[in-house]
């Protein structure tokens, strides 16, 4: 990452234009060309600096349901269980954490029924309890990261 990459990451964590030439419009204030901005974002995606590029949706507004689930996974089965959990499209993110509850993942689906099915299927296929911790209230904040 060089200074130009850092400027792109810092400037474009929101506000990407809704126009017919959005890269050109976003590139101008950064002193870049359209092609240069597209190429830089592609490289940042490929190198993993960016996990995504595009709209971030508020999944609560899809009319869907989501929950945070936690599992106590024996260390020797950790990778196997992670692979099984991650294979579900409904699993949006999954983190290993330093606690006896060592695997934490978000399950999102259109219905609470489908969320429950995914949790039950993971429990059945792993033989490990899946603890369901749906959010009861959200306190709205949005932190931006400085590159």
């Amino acid at each position: 990452m060089d200074d130009i990459d850092r400027r792109i990451v810092n400037a474009l964590q929101g506000g990407f234009p809704l126009t017919r030439r959005p890269f050109a419009d976003a590139a101008a204030p950064l002193g870049l060309s359209e092609a240069e901005l597209i190429g830089r974002i592609r490289k940042l995606r490929e190198s993993g600096v960016l996990s995504r590029f595009g709209p971030m949706f508020n999944a609560d507004r899809f009319g869907g349901h989501n929950t945070l689930a936690a599992m106590v996974v024996p260390e020797e089965r950790f990778d196997e269980v992670a692979e099984l959990v991650n294979a579900f499209d409904e699993v949006a993110h999954n983190y290993a954490r330093d606690h006896s509850f060592n695997m934490w993942f978000v399950v999102a689906a259109e219905s609470r029924v489908r969320v429950d099915e995914v949790l039950a299927e993971i429990a059945a296929r792993t033989g490990i309890s899946v603890h369901d911790m749906p959010k009861q209230r959200e306190f709205l904040v949005q932190l931006r990261f400085e590159a």
Partner: protein
């Protein structure tokens, strides 16, 4: 709160994995859906105004930016004080997400979850102390669970098909 119609849903499904990296990305999405670019742009604009789209842009992997100490701070707060505790945690300005979730007694007494992100352990510890100070006696106990690995991170998805079915990889 507006309900998404079929056109909105098609646009969500087409763009939730990301926008195409071409000069006219909304036009490319529109072509794939048999819509006009103007409709795609207008729908995304309306969804953004309505809060369905939080924002449009780059989503950094904070690990790659050096934020390696990502802590899920969890707090045990009396139910009557949850609203006030949430307000105080947000007011610190250092929390990326903050939720109330159910306790799982006896193993898990914590009912407020707040995420912090720091580049080193000292900075992470300082952030946790800041949150503890903000909560004061409202917090009856807390823990910090640092993430040791990202196992998956795709963002929440709207499914193409619902109800049963086999999970797809990817």
């Amino acid at each position: 709160m507006t309900k998404l119609d079929d056109i909105d849903r098609a646009i969500v499904i087409a763009t939730q994995g990301g926008l195409p990296l071409v000069a006219d990305p909304y036009g490319a999405v529109a072509d794939a859906l048999g819509l006009s670019a103007e409709v795609v742009i207008a729908r995304l604009d309306a969804m953004q105004q309505d809060g369905v789209v939080r924002r449009i842009g780059v989503v950094p992997n904070h690990y790659a930016l050096g934020y390696r100490f990502n802590g899920m701070t969890v707090w045990d707060v009396a139910d009557d004080h949850v609203e006030e505790a949430g307000r105080r945690l947000c007011a610190t300005g250092v929390v990326s997400h903050c939720y109330q979730r159910p306790r799982l007694l006896p193993d898990w007494p914590y009912n407020i979850f707040a995420m912090i992100h720091a580049r080193d352990e000292a900075a992470a510890t300082a952030l946790v102390e800041r949150l503890a100070t903000a909560l004061g006696p409202l917090a009856r106990g807390h823990r910090v669970l640092f993430s040791t690995r990202i196992l998956k991170k795709t963002g929440l998805r709207l499914g193409r098909q619902q109800g049963g079915g086999t999970p797809c990889s990817g």
